[in-house]
């Protein structure tokens, strides 16, 4: 068997890869390059003149306490979203792993939320928890809780975390279920005979054996919380009230498109780009090594 493909024309192989290359170049490299160039430029408020300012945008960015607040907020959001969606998904997966009737049905149902687009998730939750429209809000208020995420920053933040975590549960669930099914049944049976009760069995056998899956999902969830929550934030709070739900990605958007500060916005995108490269690098390294126990 020949491994190398042989083409009659020298141009054909290039023609075959061209569409893919064009997409990557046009939709990724070109905008990324633009962002890097833009981050070294300063534009006046009316967009009439542009000057080259070297690293001024970056210096200003890192001197701005609001940027650090946004970084901290993003880390907190990521952590909260990752932990809550991972733990809840693991709970569901452990339950769904039991051989019960109709398991295919409820497994399918548990995976469905993943198909919902982030902005739709935002709208969905706002309908339930909007202070004046929300169904659940009425009960919360009836229960004596002063629920108003449009004014209360902490409540707004928890709302975002709730919606973002909910959407990610399906994805995590799928991986956890696969991870659980990959654990040999006889190992758990051996543990049962060895006198480990279900809870102890879970923490001493199942959980350690799932650790590669957990690590992989942790990275995926952090990346998700960093970047993919834009749609949810935009439909639910628009970064407000105040700046209490403005994450790094949302700040890029609001500073650049709403605030008109394209230079700073571009510099922020470059910083984000570096962050995502680091995260992806970590993920690849560990996913390829895979076994951590």
């Amino acid at each position: 068997m020949q491994k190398q493909a042989i083409f009659q024309s020298k141009l054909l192989p290039y023609a075959l890869v061209a569409p893919q290359l064009a997409i990557v170049l046009i939709f990724f490299y070109w905008p990324a390059l633009q962002a890097v160039i833009q981050s070294f430029l300063l534009q006046d408020a009316f967009g009439l003149s542009t000057s080259f300012v070297w690293f001024d945008n970056y210096v200003e960015l890192f001197r701005d306490p609001a940027y650090f607040e946004s970084i901290l907020r993003t880390f907190f959001f990521s952590f909260a979203i990752a932990v809550s969606s991972l733990s809840f998904a693991l709970l569901l997966a452990v339950m769904a792993d039991k051989p019960l009737r109709g398991s295919t049905l409820y497994r399918t149902l548990l995976i469905w939320p993943y198909a919902v687009a982030p902005p739709v998730v935002g709208v969905l939750w706002i309908f339930m928890l909007h202070p004046s429209l929300g169904v659940i809000s009425r009960y919360l208020r009836a229960a004596g809780i002063d629920w108003n995420p449009l004014l209360d920053g902490d409540q707004a933040a928890s709302l975002i975390i709730l919606a973002a975590a909910w959407k990610q549960i399906s994805y995590n669930f799928l991986f956890f279920l696969a991870g659980l099914q990959a654990i040999p049944k006889s190992v758990l049976e051996a543990a049962a005979i060895d006198g480990a009760r279900p809870m102890r069995r879970f923490w001493t056998v199942t959980f350690p054996l799932l650790s590669p899956t957990i690590f992989f999902l942790l990275v995926v969830n952090i990346v998700y919380a960093f970047f993919d929550t834009f749609g949810i934030i935009d439909t639910m709070t628009r970064g407000g009230p105040g700046k209490s739900t403005e994450t790094l990605v949302y700040k890029v958007y609001s500073d650049g498109l709403l605030g008109g500060n394209l230079g700073s916005s571009a510099a922020q995108s470059v910083v984000l780009m570096i962050m995502v490269i680091v995260l992806t690098g970590i993920q690849f390294r560990f996913v390829e090594r895979k076994v951590t126990y």
């Binding site: 040999p184 006889s186 190992v187 049976e189 051996a190 543990a191 049962a192 005979i193 060895d194 006198g195 480990a196 009760r197 102890r200 001493t204 056998v205 350690p208 054996l209 650790s211 126990y293």
Partner: protein, 362 residues
């Protein structure tokens, strides 16, 4: 130390499939019981029911005088060695063995003594800190054994523990298991599909087929007097030659009261001798040699019956005219295509009813 008694044990799956159809076995204290049978005969299911990993849908399982049908596996005081060893991949060899003791709240000092003693017996001492994936198949097997013996349980359960090892190691481990069991004198139940393993290990042999017990007893007694044609062909390798008694060639040679009812005649390959004489009351068959296997100590002769039988098996259990296997000393070897005559004495004939379910005494 305990005896294990199965009283009319049954297992019916929710779909209605009956995997175990009423099994009665009594394993005495310190005895080594082997469940043997072809795959799908329910032997593993039965073992898992004793372990508590499968529910019992009928009858009673009694371990040491206590009915354990509703008792959790952890509380049955048993230890099990699995076919794939089922070691905890994230734990060291030491922790694999210590796990069951820690779960029972034993003091660390006592755990250390027991694990180190087991490791010494099983020659695992230098690898206590290794992870299972750093061990060879035979070493993993020994860790699985170690995990069972440190617990000092009432009963050992073995689920085809040697089937993942290569042939040489399998024989070595078989001897090890037997020696270990003799020394610890712990009641054991062992599942295998390998009749040689079954014969060599068992104090009591339980031959199973289709969810039922075909025969229970001492392995040699079973070998000498198989109760059914299934047992006759399953125990012993190469299997017993079974032939219909209907053809005149055989019917005329079988003179006696039992022979009149017998539908099937069985003769073990080693009970044949190549001879021109017909022993009194025995059976002689002319054969054409079809193939020969020389394995050194012995020679297997595959012959076809000379008298062409036109009669095709019509009723269930009736055997079509077939090949005959003869085992002779390794020094002899007839030529292929040669016509020989083999004979067996009266005492070596096994007679069964026509459906093969009943042994008849000649």
């Amino acid at each position: 130390m305990a005896n294990v008694t199965l009283r009319n044990v049954r297992k019916t799956y929710p779909g209605g499939f009956e995997a175990i159809k009423g099994v009665n076995v009594d394993v005495g204290d310190g005895q080594f019981c082997v469940l043997v049978g072809p795959s799908g005969c329910g032997k593993s299911t039965l073992l898992r029911m004793v372990a508590g990993l499968e529910t019992v849908t009928g009858g009673e399982i009694d371990i040491g005088g206590r009915v354990v049908n509703q008792v959790e596996p952890a509380d049955r005081d048993i230890a099990m060695v699995f076919q794939n060893y089922a070691l905890y991949p994230h734990m060291s060899v030491y922790n694999n063995m210590a796990y069951g003791l820690r779960n029972r709240g034993m003091a660390e000092a006592e755990i250390k003594t027991r694990v180190e003693e087991a490791a010494r017996v099983l020659e695992l001492s230098p690898m206590l800190e290794r992870k299972p994936r750093q061990l060879s198949g035979g070493q993993r097997q020994r860790v699985a054994m170690g995990r069972a013996i440190v617990r000092q349980p009432k009963v050992f359960l073995f689920d085809e523990p040697l089937s993942n090892l290569d042939a040489k190691l399998r024989i070595a481990m078989r001897v090890e298991i037997r020696k270990l069991q003799r020394r610890l004198n712990t009641t054991s139940i062992y599942v295998t599909h390998d009749q040689l393993e079954a014969m060599t290990l068992a104090d009591i042999l339980v031959v199973m087929n289709g969810g039922q017990v075909e025969q229970v007893g001492n392995p040699l007694a079973i070998y000498e007097k198989p109760a059914t044609t299934f047992v006759a062909s399953f125990i012993g390798a190469p299997p017993m030659n079974l032939m219909s008694t209907r053809p005149e060639e055989i019917r005329s040679q079988l003179a006696g009261s039992a022979a009149a009812d017998a539908g099937i005649l069985g003769i073990r390959p080693e009970d044949f001798v190549i001879t021109d004489q017909t022993p009194a009351g025995g059976v002689a068959l002319p054969l054409t040699v079809e193939a020969i296997e020389r394995v050194g100590a012995e020679t297997f002769v595959y012959g076809s019956r000379e008298q062409e039988e036109q009669h095709v098996a019509a009723t269930p259990g009736e055997l079509p005219p077939g090949e005959i296997i003869v085992r002779i000393p390794g020094t002899e070897a007839p030529a292929i295509g040669a016509r020989i005559r083999v004979a067996a004495v009266r005492q070596k004939l096994h007679l069964f009813s026509g459906d093969g379910r009943k042994r008849l005494e000649a």
